[in-house]
């Protein structure tokens, strides 16, 4: 018993007190900033592994970006990644960062369904489904509930049964072989329910885009309530994104 208390004492304080103002290492690649510097745009587009870069003006689609950093390393004056991890949004287009436009990525409050804050602002239970996820987003979603990030303090938890859930969090590019179980799980969640896509693979297919082993038709059937980019997502991106989604507004 004494020993256990000692171990407890040795841990000190591990939780991040303010989840919305925590600072990440400068090397972390979050929201990019694109300058208006002239570059060979074709060369820039060509180097990206997932066609996340488009030209005229140069844009990066964070729904496709794997955050490999290669563009910023080759064109440091054109592209810089900041350590701003608040990059989740409810509007797909908001994930596209344009040259010369240094705005924060936010949710569009107008388009959030009314029932979300009404039902879920104090408590949100989520069912996670990995549909071809590589276990990196899964590790980070688990980390959301560890003693450091402690998402449970906001009333947000992952639950085992879809019957107990208010929404679904999908990771992975959605494989053909998971398409049916995903649908069954979604159907088992009582209404109203939300859909969250966690990670680049889920949002666009990522590096797996175009594989015949995928079946992403699920996404054309339902409205996505939150896009959380990252490869994998950072727990702070996820928690802040979800909090912004369910926040009580007057």
């Amino acid at each position: 018993m004494l020993k256990n208390l000692n171990i407890l004492r040795h841990q000190g304080k591990q939780f991040i007190p303010d989840i919305s103002s925590a600072k990440l290492a400068n090397t972390f690649r979050g929201r990019p900033v694109i300058s208006s510097e002239e570059v060979d745009e074709n060369e820039l587009m060509e180097l990206c592994p997932t066609n996340a870069i488009s030209a005229n003006p140069v844009c990066i689609d964070l729904g496709k970006c794997t955050f490999c950093g290669e563009c910023a390393i080759n064109f440091p004056k054109k592209i810089q990644f900041t350590n701003d991890y608040k990059i989740a949004t409810n509007i797909r287009e908001n994930l596209i960062v344009k040259a010369g436009n240094d705005e924060l990525i936010q949710l569009n409050v107008e388009t959030i369904r009314k029932e979300i804050q009404e039902y879920f602002s104090g408590s949100l239970k989520l069912r996670q489904v990995s549909a071809g996820g590589d276990n990196s987003c899964e590790l980070e979603l688990n980390a959301c509930s560890n003693v450091n990030f402690d998402m449970g303090r906001f009333g947000i938890d992952f639950v085992a049964s879809p019957r107990h859930a208010d929404g679904i969090v999908i990771t992975g590019p959605i494989t053909e072989n998971m398409s049916r179980p995903l649908q069954i799980c979604y159907d088992a969640i009582p209404d109203p329910k939300i859909v969250i896509l966690a990670g680049t693979d889920a949002i666009s297919g990522g590096i797996f885009e175009g594989s015949p082993a995928l079946n992403r038709s699920f996404l054309s059937k339902y409205k996505v309530d939150l896009y959380v980019p990252g490869n994998p997502i950072h727990p702070l991106t996820f928690i802040n994104g979800v909090l912004a989604l369910i926040q009580k507004r007057k």
Binding site: F81, D134, A160
Partner: protein, 499 residues
Amino acid sequence: MNYISVKNNQTISFNEIPELEYPLFLEQNVFTLLKNETAHCVSYYGIKLENCIKLICCIADDSENDIKISSCIVHVNEPLNSFAHHNLVFEKFEREIFENFGVNYTNHPWLKPVRFPADRFSKNTSIKDYPFFTIESEELHEVGVGPIHAGIIEPGHFRFICNGEQILHLETQFGYQHRGIEQLFLSKKKLLQRSTLAENISGDSVVAHSLAFVNLWESLCNVHPDQSLKFERILALELERMAIHTGDLSAMCTDIGYQLGSAVLGRLRTPLINFFQKWCGNRLAKGLIRVGKTNFPFTQELEVELAKILDDYEKDFEEISDELFSLPSALVRFEKTGVVSTELATKLGNTGMAARMSNIKRDIRYSHPHDWYCEFVHEPILKQNGDVYARARLRKKEINQSIAYIRQLIKTFPVREFELPPISTPSVNSFTISLVEGWRGEICHSAITNSNGELVHYKIKDPSFHNWLSLSIAVRNNEISDFPICNKSFSLSYCGHDL
């Protein structure tokens, strides 16, 4: 003897691989080469040629530090004598060959689908039609779990046949995670796309799979990285081992309801992966390992920081380990649970931790060293009993070993000598095989190029491919309530298996 002997990461001409008649091919690989206890099959697969299938068998011999490769041409409708009938090690490999090409094995013990890939031979069945083993009995009942499990983990289906609370039989079914990675290696032609694919094979083994890919690719292109690059990569590999082992020990504590251990070990992983974030911007080291270069050199500042992290980690890790491994309520759940004897582990061809837990000395760092491991003789840590306890202790000891290695790497970190020239195209008509000991076990990548130096075949083997069967065997006659802790203690990959 009719094979070609290669070293880890050696590139040879594809034509140099001897082609044998099937009976000889079987005789050589199943009976002659594997008779030696230090030999094990690291990869066995088929390649579609015009009207036939070329089978390639790679047997690693730990005592001679080489890989013996031979091949054989077979036709789809030709009935074949199964390797697995004589040696179970080949069970999964042959099922894959059957599933991909429709090769007709007459005496395979259970010729069932492996993962229902998009390009499978027969599209008559899909993943929902998997033919599970059943027993007709009024006493027994079946329990189906998955594909979606209770926690945040990857999908796979477990079908138990139980006698009351006791597991008689477990069959695992995979494929839900199949993304078609091997095909994507061919269709996505940019080097950065392929590096990205390699680090997305299994997100908990980013460094290990990336390292297998870059070592293979650099060998194919005949470029030789300088010492500092080699050091960095191994440092990352050992750090990945530490981080994931720590997380798994935490999860094992969760499964036995030991809250303190779960919380402490869980938070001990955090500084390790945050260090990756500091180093390369990503907590799981994506972006860190690249062919012929690094975008994130290991600096002196990082050295100092990592040394401090290890010191802090070690103190708290030893404290909680002491407590965990002397706690009667933990030991009673760990000891003699989920046992795989040495004999069985050998029979199943287990690799990595799943071999070392049962006293089998199998570790690529020792038998087929590459990079920094060539500079000394790595001594694998072995456990005797093959139970959950052995798997937990193995992790603990391997963490200690990794700490010592990382300290050594930091102390002797070489100065950066030169930048590599830009990567050229791969050698033409070549074959390369690359082995890496990830935290889970032996990872094998192999590649074949055509007469233009283009990639025409890429094969990946994650250790989970071998080891899943071992879990099924381990849980036999255990209480079904012990399944979670057994499963976690193996911690096998679904996506690494499904590709």
